[in-house]
Point group: C2
Chain length 142, copies 2
């Protein structure tokens, strides 16, 4: 099988994990969905593609991807299912309307100064970050 692997799939292989149908399907669901997606939605979409893929494997894969920093769970609504975000390559920030849950994306964050300062202060090596702003969007403000 000489199929071309996406960068993310490669990251998984490099970390010593096997390329399986379950994992590729979950990855595909994320890449096609583009944005935020709850575990429930992942379950549904994976089932739509291949209903033989087990529930447990999907959760295992979500866990794996989280550990590999391929996705990151985040919170948008209240106390409920997490929403997973595909981490593109370092940057991915949101402005979330707390009224209608619309998500606006932006990437011109300017955190490198702060990041360096924190690295120095705490002796830590930073590899990524998540920045979310909450507010009321134009439409809801009316």
């Amino acid at each position: 099988m000489t199929e071309q692997l996406s960068k993310r799939a490669r990251r998984m292989v490099d970390a010593g994990y096997k390329v399986t149908k379950a994992r590729m399907t979950v990855l595909r669901v994320f890449e096609e969905s583009g944005g935020h997606i709850t575990s429930k939605e992942v379950l549904e979409r994976v089932a739509a593609i291949d209903e033989n893929i087990g529930r447990a494997s999907i959760f295992r894969t979500l866990d794996l991807f989280t550990r590999l920093a391929i996705i990151r769970p985040t919170y948008i609504e209240t106390s409920m299912t997490p929403s997973y975000v595909l981490l593109p390559d370092g940057h991915h920030h949101h402005i979330i309307c707390t009224n209608c849950d619309q998500v606006i994306e932006f990437d011109n964050c300017d955190l490198s100064d702060l990041a360096h300062q924190l690295e120095a202060e705490y002796g830590i090596e930073l590899t990524g970050h998540l920045l979310e702003f909450y507010g009321i969007c134009k439409t809801c403000a009316v």
Copy 2:
């Protein structure tokens, strides 16, 4: 009853909600815990104080406090129960070691410039934000 209400309790009253034993107990648990706390821990600690307080009321209160921006659900570990953070007054940020899950807190973020810029650009009114850095801590880097 002329008991002094905390600022947060007052915010609740001002929004038209009643001061009840269940709510005050949950608030007290948060204020005494100081930091991150999962719903499970809230359940346990509330039960330790007053075991007559019902499960459902606690979840209702978590929901209410989230809507009132008294607390904010956040994600620290992998795909699991959210961890609630008492919002002190606007700021509360984390550096999370992706290896050992240690959490370092800091609050000298300097996002007001960026926030203003985004407000202008997207015509949105921002009310809060969440900033998390991920990396490898000193201890794990060895």
